[in-house]
């Protein structure tokens, strides 16, 4: 018997510069649930897509950094508001992607929303916590202020498709950087849905760019790109790690690693003590020190 209504399925696309292109390469790959069922086709982004994303991020970086801290905080909080409105959709997608029971998926999504709120509040406080006025031994006024490092490449956690992603994405954004995210390769769909939330939020196009695809293909390109200032290597597969860091060395990129002994699969993203860290914001900040003489 034919169903009453054929459901309308979503095309999962890339998110670059505020737009939703398919890959210029026309490629895709099949995303499977934990039980092996095919969930959807995701875009298999190309090197060209990645370069486009970096260009979009660079263009968006300075205007985003120039926003007032309070404004950045409100923009991040708004992401939480919009995610709350699409909570059920995220729960269903996270459950399918990660093979979680509904209750557990609800907890994960709620925590992802709350994490945006936690990091949003840091926007206008981090400079006060990390900055300093320095009592130099000479007649100068001397102070140190944090500034965003610029464009951050994020290789998202592989296991935690939404909460892990949000926990690594919010810190560089609240710090005032623009980012290019390589979503979890095996569980990319919640990231794409997040990009749809971002597109209707107040986060300016280009500040967050999200690509889906094969890490082996994309991570080295991201690590080698000279217009990427910093790199989050959290989700880099173990067999690519040395290669990625060698590439990052070429133009002295800042890299942020998982702490020694911490694995992607075992990390407890639900633990606020572990995943809500001002150090994770500091990792994407440069410290600028300014001197001026004191005189009449």
């Amino acid at each position: 018997m034919a169903p009453d209504r054929i459901d309308v399925r979503k095309t999962y696309k890339l998110y670059i510069g505020g737009d939703f292109p398919r890959s210029e390469s026309g490629r895709s790959y099949v995303v499977r649930a934990s039980n092996g069922d095919a969930l959807a086709n995701a875009v298999r982004a190309s090197r060209k897509d990645l370069r486009d994303a970096v260009r979009a991020a660079r263009k968006a970086a300075q205007p985003w950094a120039d926003r007032t801290a309070m404004n950045r905080g409100q923009v991040l909080y708004r992401v939480a508001e919009l995610m709350e409105g699409r909570r059920d959709q995220f729960v269903a997608e996270v459950a399918a992607a990660e093979g979680l029971r509904a209750g557990r998926a609800e907890t994960v999504v709620d925590r992802a929303i709350d994490r945006w709120v936690w990091y949003a509040g840091w926007a206008d406080k981090i400079a006060q916590v990390l900055g300093s006025s320095n009592p130099v031994a000479a007649p100068y006024f001397n102070f140190t202020i944090p500034e965003p490092t610029g464009v951050v490449g994020i290789v998202a956690p592989e296991t935690s498709s939404l909460l892990g992603l949000v926990s690594r994405l919010a810190p560089p954004i609240v710090a005032g950087n623009a980012v290019v995210v390589l979503a979890s390769e095996t569980r990319p769909l919640p990231a794409v849905t997040l990009s749809e939330v971002l597109a209707s939020s107040d986060v300016p196009g280009g500040v967050i760019n999200i690509l889906t695809g094969l890490k082996k293909e994309l991570v080295p390109v991201l690590a080698a790109h000279v217009d990427v200032d910093s790199l989050d290597v959290w989700g880099v597969p173990a067999d690519l790690r040395t290669e990625v860091e060698l590439l990052a060395a070429e133009d002295i990129k800042r890299i942020s690693r998982r702490p020694a002994g911490v694995t992607d699969a075992r990390f407890d993203w639900l633990d606020d003590r572990a995943a809500e860290r001002p150090e994770w914001i500091a990792a994407w900040l440069e410290m600028k020190t300014v001197w001026h003489p004191i005189g009449t």
Partner: protein, 516 residues
Amino acid sequence: MTAMATKTPTVPAATNGAVSRVEHAPASWGLGDGAAIPWDYAPAPESREIVTIKEQYGLFIGGKDVVASDGQTFATVNPATEEPLAQVARGTAADMDKAVRAARSSFRRTWSRLSGKERAKYLFRIARLLQERSREFAVLESMDSGKPIKESRDVDVPLAAAHFWYYAGWADKLDYAFPGRVARPLGVAAQVIPWNFPLLMLAWKIAPALAAGNTVVLKPASTTPLSALLFADVCRQADLPPGVVNIVPGPGEVGMALISNPGVDKVAFTGSTEIGRKIFQGVAGSDKALTLELGGKAANIVFDDAPLDQAVEGIVNGIYFNQGEVCCAGSRLLAQESIVEPLIEKLKDRLSTIRVGDPLDKNTDVGAINSRSQLEKITELVAAGRAEGAEMYQPACDLPERGYFFRPTLFTNVAQSHRIAREEIFGPVLSVLTFRTPEEAVEKANNTPYGLSAGIWTDKGSRILHMVKRMKAGVVWANTFNRFDPTSPFGGYKESGFGREGGMHGLHAYVRLEDR
């Protein structure tokens, strides 16, 4: 003129090859025309009696003075006379391994078990000893590195002592530096330092590392090992537990052996971006923490409303301080077009009063270049500047017959594409470029892969803060240049490295933060 000076001003032979557009100011009176003022100074040499330089120096490992594993030594030379000062044990990879083991053992057995309060007192002792022996360090530093005694006495040594003093106080207050977290030491820190500020860089590296509870293996530069080895004596006098500080001199490959040693938890390097990249590659894929303080090509931006006489002093200090062998040197002068002519005139006048010569003479402003190879590098880049069409000016000062000396040099008509505007020269060579608007100044200043420092000269406060915000540089000096202080974080953006040294931020590089 100093006792060492000759009476015939000559351009160093190697610069003679290129276009002959050298403008030599005549040695006559004349203000405003860039001519030399023939003020003569009687020699005022600092006595070298205060320091006893041994014929042989060993490695400092586990609190002991030991020979290299293969018995090899190398000579360290006084760059002002080209005479060897001493023979120094040349560390090997095996020695580095021994030093790392010594550091590990003292980390486990003593240093990490000591309370912050007790660690602090050792660091205070070291600060005091450096102050007590300051003249000895200053003279030795000038002899081994070529820097003027004025600078080693008034800048390097007091700042080195101040660094130990500052970080001593942090050792028992780490909880207040990292609220909400427990700061744990990383373990054994491998530290590789350059030859331009040998003792000061040692202090920048060792003081925060020890304060945070780490132990260290330090490799001083191969041309300037002596102040580090004298520091080993300070560690002994302070009764610092053996193995907390280990000092192993040697060439670059020994530094690479140190940073790649699996027993190392943390790598800190100051030096060129080229070597920094190799160090980064050397730790790639490991769990070693890394901080890099690398090269620079700083813009010193002078706006038309700047007090020009003060700016000239700042420009001179910015590029001729320590023979320009400074990573944060203001090597690119960006002058607003409307004032470029009077500024250059004043600058040329000022250059003619700079005294180049014997580093131990208390009147000397610019001493010897650190090594023959560095002199060759400077000479080569200056020749490239002339070949590419920039106009060179050098004051008519006399250079000593022996030693590695180079005249303070000024290039005008420099294009951004010229090598002298792009590459770090690490010598007393200033390239002058011009701009019209603040936006153009920002664009030119940031048009470099480096991002260590910048200077801004203007009377307008709001413009200073605007420029500060736009400069991609870790340190911005406004209406001053080349100021340093232990409380003031220092370090670069972009390819000038990452991590900060100095201040509370300098502690970050040496701790692991754990949840409370």
